[in-house]
C-alpha cells in the first residue's frame, strides 16, 4: 500500500511541470461555476493556460490531450472569498511565521499584503490539495480601522502567487472598527471621514491612477502606475497641518476615494450595514463591498437596492457578539432571494487555513432547502458562491471563478459532487498547469500509515 502511494506520488511529481498546450476534459459532470446546473457529459477545453470552451457542445480540438472524466465531476477551482491565506504558516506560538499582525506598524491603509504572501506556505499546499485554486487575501487591521490593501492569489506550486495586488482596501467598521477607533462606532466614522478628507487633499495634486488592472485615461495627465510609490509622496505634494494619517496611508486612500479601488468593509450588525451604504451619499464614487454581514437578511432589500456585493459568512447562527443577534444560517438564502449579490467568505473563521471548508459550508446552504422555514440556495447557486461570485465581488470575474471562455485554466476533477463530504479532488490545474497535491499532511499520512517496526526509524520513511 505504502509503496503504491509513493509510486503514485512520483508519477505526479514527474508530470507536474508539464503544461499541456491543449487539454480537453471530457465525459464528466461539468460545473461551469456561473450558477447554472451541472451538465452531465460535458467537456472543457484549456489552451495555453486559458479556458477556450466548456459545455455539452464544446468541440475537442484534434491535437488536444484528452482526459476522460467519466464518473467524475469537473469544476472551476474553488475561490476563497475572504481569507488570510498565505500570510501565516501557524497562527499561534510560532514566532515569525505569522504575518497577519500589524499592530505595531506605524502604517495602516498603505500596507499591502502582497510581499507577505508565501507561495510555499503549507496552508497554500493544503488548500490546493482540496481544490482551492484562488483566494482573496485581506490584511488584518492593526491599530487603525484601515487594515490595508488586499490581493487575489493563486495556490499554484510556483513562486508567483499574486494574481493581482492592491485589489481592495479593507476596513473594519463594526465592533472591531469601533475598538480600533478608540471605543465607539461614532469615533470610527469620524476617523473614516477624516481619512478620506486627507486623501482628498492629496488627490487634488495628482492625475490619473492605475490600480487593480484598470486602464485610466492618459489624456487626463500622466498616469501614476502605483499609488504606493508615486509622486503623491514627493515634497511638492503639500499637506495641511492637521493630519492624522501618514502621507503613505493618505495616498493609499486616493484610489478608494476615486472609486478606482474597491473598499471592502467588515460589518455585521444591520444598522452598521445601513451606515456603510449611506456613505455613498457623502462619497458618491466609493465602490463598496460588504464582508461578514451576519444580520444582512434583516435589511436585504436595501442592500439589494445599493447594488453592493456581499461576501458573507455562511453558517453563522449564534449571537456570538452583540452585532450578530439576528444570526441565522438562512441569512445568505434570504439575501439571495431579495436580490443581493452574495459570495461566501470566511472572515475571522480560521481564515489563514481552513478555506477548504468553504465547499462544506456551501453544501450546508443547499441542505437548508429541506428545512421547513429556512432559506437555502440551489446547488448551482451554492457552487457559484465559492467560485464565480467571490471573483465577481472583487472585480475579477472576467479572469477567474468560472469555466467561461477566456478565463484562467483553473480546473478540478473531483471524485464526486464537490459539495459532498465524501468527495475529494483527484486532479487540479491552475493556469492550465497540473499541480502536485502532496503536502505536509499527506506525507505524514504515508509515513504513519503503518506503525509496524521496520529496519529503520520512521524518520527514514519519505
Amino acid at each position: 500500500m505504502r509503496r503504491a502511494l509513493l509510486l503514485a506520488a512520483a508519477l505526479v511529481a514527474s508530470t507536474s511541470p508539464l503544461t499541456a498546450q491543449t487539454l480537453a476534459i471530457t465525459n464528466g459532470t461539468l460545473v461551469l461555476g456561473d450558477g447554472s446546473d451541472p451538465i452531465v457529459g460535458g467537456t472543457v477545453v484549456v489552451r495555453n493556460g486559458r479556458i477556450v470552451a466548456a459545455g455539452d457542445r464544446a468541440r475537442v480540438p484534434a491535437n488536444a490531450e484528452i482526459i476522460d472524466a467519466s464518473g467524475k465531476w469537473v469544476t472551476p477551482g474553488i475561490v476563497a472569498g475572504f481569507s488570510r491565506l498565505g500570510l501565516a504558516e501557524v497562527d499561534l506560538g510560532a514566532d515569525g511565521s505569522d504575518d497577519t499582525e500589524t499592530g505595531n506598524s506605524p502604517f495602516s491603509a498603505a500596507i499591502d499584503v502582497a510581499p507577505a504572501i508565501n507561495p510555499k506556505a503549507s496552508t497554500i499546499a493544503v488548500s490546493r490539495a482540496d481544490g482551492v485554486t484562488r483566494a482573496v487575501v485581506a490584511p488584518v487591521a492593526g491599530k487603525s480601522i484601515f487594515a490595508g490593501q488586499g490581493a487575489v492569489i493563486d495556490t499554484g506550486d510556483d513562486m508567483d502567487a499574486v494574481l493581482r495586488s492592491r485589489v481592495f482596501q479593507f476596513v473594519e467598521l463594526g465592533e472591531g472598527g469601533a475598538d480600533k477607533a478608540g471605543g465607539s462606532r461614532s469615533a470610527a466614522f469620524v476617523l473614516f471621514r477624516n481619512a478620506l478628507r486627507e486623501a482628498e487633499q492629496l488627490s487634488r495634486r495628482v492625475g490619473p491612477l492605475t490600480v487593480g488592472g484598470e486602464q485610466p485615461d492618459a489624456r487626463e495627465g500622466p498616469i501614476v502606475r502605483n499609488p504606493n510609490e508615486s509622486r503623491l509622496y514627493s515634497s511638492d505634494a503639500g499637506r495641511a497641518e492637521d493630519v492624522l494619517l501618514t502621507r503613505f496611508d493618505a495616498a493609499a486612500l486616493v484610489p478608494v476615494l476615486r472609486g478606482q479601488q474597491l473598499l471592502l468593509v467588515h460589518v455585521e450588525r444591520a444598522k452598521d450595514i445601513l451606515n456603510i451604504l449611506g456613505l455613498k451619499r457623502e462619497f458618491p464614487k466609493l465602490k463598496i463591498a460588504l464582508v461578514g454581514v451576519t444580520e444582512g437578511w434583516t435589511v436585504a432589500d436595501r442592500i439589494a437596492d445599493s447594488g453592493a456585493w456581499v461576501i458573507a459568512s455562511a453558517l453563522n447562527d449564534l449571537p456570538a457578539s452583540f452585532e450578530m443577534l439576528a444570526a441565522t444560517q438562512s441569512n445568505i438564502g434570504r439575501m439571495k432571494a431579495a436580490g443581493v449579490k452574495v459570495a461566501i467568505g470566511m472572515i475571522d473563521d480560521n481564515d489563514t487555513r481552513n478555506l477548504r471548508n468553504q465547499r462544506q459550508y456551501a453544501g450546508n446552504l443547499v441542505a437548508l432547502r429541506k428545512v421547513p422555514g429556512a432559506a437555502g440556495v440551489s446547488w448551482g447557486e451554492a457552487f457559484a458562491m465559492i467560485s464565480s461570485q467571490p471573483a465577481e465581488a472583487v472585480g475579477l470575474g472576467g479572469e477567474i471563478g468560472s469555466l467561461a471562455s477566456g478565463r484562467r485554466g483553473d480546473v478540478v476533477i473531483w471524485s464526486g459532487d464537490p459539495l459532498e463530504l465524501s468527495s475529494a479532488p483527484e486532479t487540479v490545474w491552475i493556469d492550465g498547469v497540473r499541480q502536485p497535491l502532496e503536502n505536509h499532511q499527506t506525507k505524514l499520512r504515508d509515513r504513519y500509515r503503518s506503525l509496524e517496526r521496520e529496519t529503520l526509524p520512521e524518520a527514514y520513511r519519505k
Binding site: 506560538g93 453558517l315 439576528a326 453544501g363 429541506k370 465524501s422 504513519y448 500509515r449
Partner: protein, 469 residues
Amino acid sequence: MRHQGGYGRLAAAFALAGLSSCAMVQETPEPTPGSVKINEDPYPSTYQRYPGALTYIHGATILDGEGGRIDNGSIILADGKVQAVGGPELAAPAGAFSIDAHARFVTPGIIDVHSHLGDYPSPGVASLSDGNEATSPARPEVWAEHSVWPQDPGFSRALANGGITTLQILPGSANLFGGRSVVLKNVPARTVQGMKFPGAPYGLKMACGENPKRVYGSKNQMPQTRMGNIAYVRQTWARAQEYRRKWHKYEVAGGEIPVRDLAMDTLRGVLDGKILVHNHCYRADEMAIMIDVAKEFGYKISTFHHAVESYKIADLLRENGICSAMWADWYGFKMESYDAINENIAFVHNAGACAIVHSDDPNGIQRLNQEAAKAMASGRRAGIDISEATAWTWLSSNPAKALGIFDKTGSLKAGKMADVVLWNGNPFSAYTRPDKVWIDGTLMYDAANPRLRPVSDFELGQPGEGDVK
C-alpha cells in the same frame, strides 16, 4: 448605595450561616473512624425527563451506535427508554405515535465529549467567559458546573442542527489541572442542576503542552516549559497521594479529621477511580509521557482531547485503553497542531483504539455528523474500510464510554435512554439535517414544528428570537 446595602445584608446572612455550621461541628463528639464523610454529590442533578408519547418509527435506516445497521428498521420509544429495535417485523404498539421514516436515518443522539457551551457561551463577552480559572496552574478545585450559564443560546443550536443529546462541559486548558467537568443532558433548564446527567461521573480536565506554559510562562511563573508542566503535574499528584493517605487513615482508624482541601478532593476522586481524566494533549510524545505519569501515580486516563497526533501512537493508545477525541481536519492553528492529518480518526480506529469525534466549538458541535463523514471518507481514500454504522460509534458509543455513561445512553438498545435523532436523509451527507430529536423519549426538536424549537431567555425580544437557525 441601595445595592451596597443589599450586598451587606447578604454578607451578614452568609456569616450567620457560617457561624451556625461552625457551632454544629463544635458540638460533634470525638469522631469514630470515618464518621465525617465528604459529600461527593453536593450539587445533585435535579433533571427530570419530560413526558413523552409512545412512539413508533418504522421504515428507517437505523445505525444503532454500536456498529450495527438495520435497513427498513423499526424502533419503539416509551417511558423515556428504547423499548425495542428491529426490522419491519417489529409491529406498531397500540396507540403509538407512528412515523414513516423511509429514506431517513435513525441514530442515537450525538454525544459531544468536549464542549464549552455555558462556560464560554454566546455572546462571547468577558462578563460571560467563565471557562479558565487562570490564576494557578493547578485548579482542580473549580467545577465547570459553577460556571455554566444555562441560557447559552448555543445549546439550542447543538440540539436542532447537530442532534446533540448529551455533552460534557469542560473547563478550559490554561491550567495543567483545569477543574471538574460536568455532563449535561441537552434539555433546557433554569439551573445547571436541572440539566445534569443523572449518575454521570465527574471528569477532571488536564492539559499538556503549549497553553499552560504560555499562560504562566508569560507571567514568569512555573510552568514556563514542557518540563515545567510535567514537574508541576507530578508534584501535584504527589500531594494528592498524601491527601488520600491521610483521609484513608482517618476513615479506617479515626483520629484527627484531615483538613479539607477542595483541590485535593478532586484529585483523590481520580486516584479512587471515581473521576475520569480528560486530558487536553496534542502531541504524540506528550501523550506518551502523560501515560507514564498516570502509571507513576496510579490513575487512569479516559481520553486524550484534541489528540491530533494520536495516529503516530495509535498502538500505544490501544494497549492502554485510552480514547482519542479528535477533529476531522483542524490543523495549524498553533504549533502543537502542526502535524494534524485528515486520516487521524480513521487511523486510530483502524489500529483498534477508541476514536471519538469532538467539537470544542459552538459551531462545530452543530456538525459533528459531518465531521465524522469527512473522517470516514479520508480513511476510505487511504484504503481503510469503514462502514457508516461503524463511524457512528465515534459519535455515540465511544464518547459514552469515555464519559462512563454507556450503560445508560450512547446506543439504541432496549432499556437505554431514548436519546434518538431522526435525520432527513443520510447523516453522512452535507445535505442532511436533523428532522426530529428525542431526549429520554421526549420530542425536544421537530423541524416541522416551530413550537418545538427552544429559545433561551437571552434571545427573547431579540431580532433572531425563535427563527430557524
